[in-house]
Symmetry: D2
Subunit: 335 residues, 4 copies
């Protein structure tokens, strides 16, 4: 039985992890932490949760666990990763702390000196479909951001090709409000959100941008720049990304679809939809799946890619990574 600890269990991602691990046939929850609500139970925060007692991070019995999941703010996550690794636990970090290869880029985007730059090379960027060969030997996994998971899975087959792309790639995305976190703010007040649809940090302003461009360039040196426009959707969960890739030359549609089939036909959690269908949140919510559809119009490929931001965009992918790290069937505990 894999013994898992969860730091920051009172956030939406933490609660989603608890739900997944409680149903996991080969894992169990050893502890759950919360700074602000230590001493209470998870049920005090989420009425449908089990009454797991929350401990303060510093009191977590790190010695008892095989793996910890970090659902902490950036920088705090990095600090905790250091402690956990020192205690011999493997770490799956759901924050951004170990996603970027370069401490300077991290500092520029996160306004913080990196807490453990010496770990950046070792950390595995946890997009499971891409990194699974590295996971069994990994002790530190940087779980990808939610938007990046949808955009990168959608673009990867193109990044494994040399089809010439003209101009920037445009990713126009929309996310449910759980992606903004549980802290009450003016932006997440029900009355502000209901009936609204609002873009934010569009263009090259969102922290997920460097993470996505880093992956794209790792896969294809001449990957074009990315423009990324997130929007807040008046739904609790789900992400849809509508991505525009304009090619510099003619495109053979059958060839294009074949690339996606090759890339994903054998993947349990990536569904390439039949021609004529488009991805939507209804394809994926409450599952660990990513649905991708292709629409070719002239020289522009429009990809629609949907995930549940809390599951394939966070907790589900984290469990998927854990499964591979520990030698379980990759789909254990996941739908």
């Amino acid at each position: 039985m894999i013994k898992a600890g969860i730091y920051g269990a009172t956030g939406y991602t933490g609660w989603e992890l608890v739900k997944l691990l409680q149903r996991h046939p080969a894992a169990g929850i050893a502890f759950v932490t919360s700074q602000s609500q230590a001493g209470q139970t998870l049920r005090d925060v989420f009425p449908a949760a089990p009454a797991l007692r929350l401990v303060a991070g510093e009191d977590a019995p790190l010695g008892d666990v095989d793996v910890v999941f970090l659902c902490l703010p950036h920088a705090a996550a990095g600090e905790t990763a250091l402690k956990a690794l020192a205690a011999g636990a493997r770490v799956i970090d759901l924050s951004a702390d170990f996603r970027l290869r370069d401490a300077a880029t991290y500092a520029a985007w996160y306004a913080h000196t990196h807490p453990a730059p010496h770990l950046l090379d070792e950390a595995v960027y946890g997009l499971t479909e891409v990194c699974r060969a590295e996971l069994p030997g990994a002790r530190l996994v940087a779980n990808p951001g939610c938007y990046p998971t949808s955009v990168l899975l959608a673009l990867r087959p193109l990044m494994l090709s040399d089809m010439p792309i003209a101009g920037p790639i445009i990713a126009d995305s929309a996310s449910g409000v759980s992606g903004a976190g549980r802290s009450p703010t003016a932006t997440t007040h029900f009355v502000q959100v209901a009936g609204n649809y609002a873009p934010y940090k569009i263009g090259r302003a969102h922290r997920h941008l460097p993470e996505m461009e880093q992956a794209l360039r790792r896969w294809r040196a001449d990957a074009p720049p990315l423009l990324f426009s997130p929007h807040l959707l008046p739904v609790p969960r789900g992400i849809l990304s509508t991505i525009y890739v304009t090619f510099a030359g003619e495109v053979d549609e059958d060839d294009l679809r074949a690339r996606y089939a090759t890339a994903y036909d054998d993947e349990p959690f990536v569904d390439v939809l039949p021609a004529g269908q488009l991805a939507s949140l209804a394809h994926v919510n409450h599952t660990n799946r990513c649905a991708i559809a292709l629409t070719l119009t002239g020289r522009t490929l429009i990809l629609t890619a949907a995930i549940d931001n809390l599951i394939k965009g966070a907790a589900g992918q984290a469990v998927q990574n854990m499964n591979v790290m520990f030698g379980c069937p990759e789909t254990s505990g996941l739908i």
Copy 2:
């Protein structure tokens, strides 16, 4: 032109008042205040608002106005009322400060010593359909609470009768989230509210209870006690109250409906629906109307009563009161 000032214009009720007064043929807005956002404009808070500059309460030019609307927290409202009256302005208070006749009851329910108990007798409880005769001579109007407006309008015709009522009256109500105010809290976070329906302060626990019982008993000395169960609805606005009145004897349905017709047929803002129809938020949202329907089952009358909590439940009724106070047609600026 009636010159109006609005204290606390950055709350939902304040913004609703601004919208109504801007379209009012005989009124104009002289100032709008905000403590936390003085110096900014209303558009900084509500993107569809006009760019009215917000001043701190203490800087409001009280001498320039005929009437002020107070959309302030309780106790603060009372203090401001004193200043405004001293400056010669008439006051329409949307807080609870002047609704209860008795300072001791106020202290018990609002955990605060009343700021101006000597004004309690003078204050007119501003349920317009009931108090309009008093409004022209009033200089202080206590605008009713939102839930009470729906419950009291629905029950009034029974309170003007001597039909014997058995047991408590039960008012089971539901309100959209704007009734909870604009401050971000765990309870009003979009993810917490969306998809949920939650009762709170049920029975005899909500502050609106003494206000409702006071009115019922003023109309009918032997009015039975009230049980009041509010619920938070995952919608931005609107209140529906489903009210159960069990009579001690047989009830003649035609007689009952005649009482409601007599009470309300000539009222511009109260619609008694035809037999067989039930009130819903769709009947009233974005209007100053109250829709009431009667369903008689054996000896129990089930009333359904709907209002828009921000309009007939607050700002609209406030403007309706202002119209009567200043001798305008009662429907001016209202739909």
Copy 3:
């Protein structure tokens, strides 16, 4: 392995059953039927569904199954039950066809001659917490209606007492829209529902009323009449019932709470909340649980009871019944 067939798999309840049975450790789906969409797959209706091929009801291989779940319209369900029983399958009917003991009552409320009145005495009313002793020997189970499950579980401990009750019991309920079924109608159009809250068939008009009163009177001969007011909630799923029971004499709160503890402390799917808490959809959605809370105000007990209408109100309770019928742990495949 229990081999199960699902009739009417393309409704919301049918799809919920598929989701539950797919994850059930001891059951498998042998067939899924649809009249209008025979030949298509379930994925053509629900994009997140497995691609199970739908067959017409008459083509379902009844001989291959141990149990069938009927998610069919009333009367059609009864007809299918006859065929299934003749083929040797046990039947769990999610329609109303076998809930009422009396064919005349059925005809009055459902405007249809009962298709199999001779089975009415044999049918077990499938409120699992109450009927589990009868399930192992049952070949026909009438799964309760969604609203009745919430109301009856909340009232049962009082029906096992002789605490004198004055006047009618009032159940004021609200349900998410999936309870209305998948057929597009004016009432379930998104624009009509969003932002609205609407009562319907209140008092003694809803078909669930005779079913609830039948159960109450079976448990307690002097059970008072019930008034039942359902409302349509602008959420996809969940039911909250706020129930008012006024006692004829004094009530000892400790005694009352003890009765609920006795009735439910050992029940895996019924949670009686601590004093001071109130039930809400957030307590139960996406689970098979019923959350019940008690608030005593004078002589009136206000019960709040929440369930997920598709799970404990339908598919989950059906699987719970199947578990007991076939000797599995009662919680198999359910959370």
Copy 4:
């Protein structure tokens, strides 16, 4: 007083028109038609509506009106336009029938022979900010589609420039469900829409595409092709378009913003937001306004443009056109 008739008053656009015209200081409603609900009142469809009696289209007293608004399906609208013009009424058509200059394009996109091709040259495409000089002399106005209004207002200043544009313009749009019409369908069922976000007819598949390209090319002969991706938003109303224009050369941001200021500073219903702000539905819903924001990232301009699909996207713009046609202040009856 302008006497107006409304054909198809029982759709969402028709009801919005009724609301606007009822508050219009210089217009009145002479008749409202409905084919399926002739003889009923508008209140039978929309509970908050006035009880205007609906007549069948053929019974509408065309001789009594100065102007008719057509909220009818395409082709039916065109037929009705012919009759109305023959009766001497001026026509504001909210369907697509007179938007396209070319009958062949119409036939290709609407699968219907054009009912009155001889009127195509005369019809004025009613984007008020652009066509107002033509309106006083117009007897037939083709009110633009909702999505096109947002996209065209956002792009117009660029189309009046010769800034070289590289590649297709991409308009990624999202609309509330009222845009889909009032007929109940599987796509507009509350349970299908709530919590979902779904693209449809993306690329060059939506009927609004030829209308938008026609306008863009009329303004600028070398306008690039357009890719248009609409999505269904789980809100009742509002449209947000996020539009990507990549320039072929360097762009001076001040110059760009100056063009938008020149184009729109004096427009009562178009707000160009300050740099740093982004448009959202909250800026415009329930008003006739279009909010536009500019974000320049490298050589790509990202425009965000929001309108209320029922108001500036339909009924509001129709009234704005009527005002200019009849010599009223353009803002009469509109906010």
